[in-house]
Amino acid sequence: MDLRDLLVKWEAPEASSALDERVYAAFKRSARSRSNFWIPFAAAAAGGVVVAGLWMRRPVEIEMDSAVVSSPAGVTAETELNVTGFVPITNGKIVVVRKAEN
């Protein structure tokens, strides 16, 4: 009987349960380290998105210059704004705030 015949007849022994546990534990450690690797990058990306969103919605400094000017047509209370981007609210809310609440 030569070596080839012996190998054909040979059966691998059953793996012990201890070996299974070691292999499984090693796999979990590897998987965990791979997943932890991306956490800082994901957090940085999420933070960047939040900061960009807040920056885009940041209140802009607005300067107003107001004057009251009269003419035969009546009294005009006029305010000049130094920025653009505002649109009219033609049906805006009107609220009365009583003196006690001020």
Binding site: M56, R57, R58, P59, V60, E61, I62, E63, M64, D65, S66, A67, V68, V69, S70, S71, P72, A73, G74, V75, T76, A77, E78, T79, E80, L81, N82, V83, T84, G85, F86, V87, P88, I89, T90, N91, G92, K93, I94, V95, V96, V97, R98, K99, E101, N102
Partner: protein, 275 residues
């Protein structure tokens, strides 16, 4: 919404603006506010016609952003602050078509010290809104002491004895400073105190009762009012400046325009901030 607007009142520092007198006891104060953040405005103190609306205009460098009218009525002992779409005839003078304005009339009963807050403009990119805080305030005179104001009421301006074209003011203004624009004659600027921020002023005017006399470039002027110019009824020296080529940059067009210190700042610019 109400809570938001109430929070706005607390969150933004008060910026002073003198009221327009409605009568001897009650004035109307208009205060534009920015939510959630903003700053800056100038003061104003001006008489208004007791029976007419106040035209409210907001604009930027591109034109009129919003305009509406405010009227205060006293009905059965209660003040009503009425906000309404801008008067069409007045809107035509604003040279913007169409003028953004309110859709409907709103009548709010308000007592002294109450605020009527009305949303006017919004910026969807920043989330900011601009509102007007309209308030009735007590302006009962404290007494008869000198108030340091020029009281210009229903005045005619004469040059070398002849009334200037468009030379009549059909209303009034009260303040330490007074400005008037007459088409064809330019701008006239008056101040009881030396306005250090504007070096072009000269102390060449004098108040005598209900007349303000001055000489500018060899022409003698008289601003003749229907009532004493000073609260004391007496006289005082006046600083003044005249620019025959001046044109006001305020939105409301008119051959005759006038105002107090806020109009002077807007018309001459805020030179004091550069010093």
């Amino acid at each position: 919404m109400k809570n938001t607007l109430c929070a706005l009142l607390v969150a933004i520092p008060m910026l002073a603006q003198e009221p327009f007198p409605i009568n001897d006891q009650v004035g109307l104060r208009i205060l534009p506010r920015i939510y959630p953040k903003g700053n800056g405005m100038t003061n104003a103190h001006l008489s208004m016609k007791k029976d007419g609306p106040v035209h409210r205009v907001l604009r930027d460098s591109s034109g009129i952003l919003f305009a509406y009218d405010i009227e205060v009525k006293l009905v059965e002992g209660q003040y009503h602050i009425v906000t309404e779409p801008v008067n069409p005839a007045y809107a035509r003078t604003l040279r913007t078509e169409p003028v953004p304005t309110l859709r409907s009339v709103s009548d709010s009963v308000a007592g002294i010290g109450d605020s009527v807050i009305i949303e006017l403009l919004s910026n969807t990119a920043t989330g900011q809104r601009i509102v007007d805080d309209i308030k009735l305030v007590d302006i009962t005179p404290a007494g008869t002491a000198p108030d340091g104001m020029l009281h210009i009421e229903y005045a005619d301006l004469y040059a070398n004895g002849s009334k200037l074209p468009h030379g009549s003011i059909t209303g009034g203004a009260t303040g330490p400073q007074f400005v008037m624009y007459l088409e064809g004659s330019g701008g006239f600027f008056f101040s009881l105190m030396q306005p250090k921020e504007y070096p072009q002023f000269q102390k060449v005017g004098v108040v005598e009762g209900s007349t303000l006399k001055f000489v500018w470039e060899n022409r003698s002027y008289e601003l003749r009012c229907t009532a004493p110019i000073l609260s004391t009824g007496g006289g005082a020296e006046v600083w003044l400046f005249h620019d025959p080529n001046f044109r006001p940059k305020t939105a409301g067009a008119g051959a005759v325009q006038w105002g107090a210190e806020s109009a002077m700042k807007m018309w001459l610019g805020k030179e004091e901030e550069e010093h």
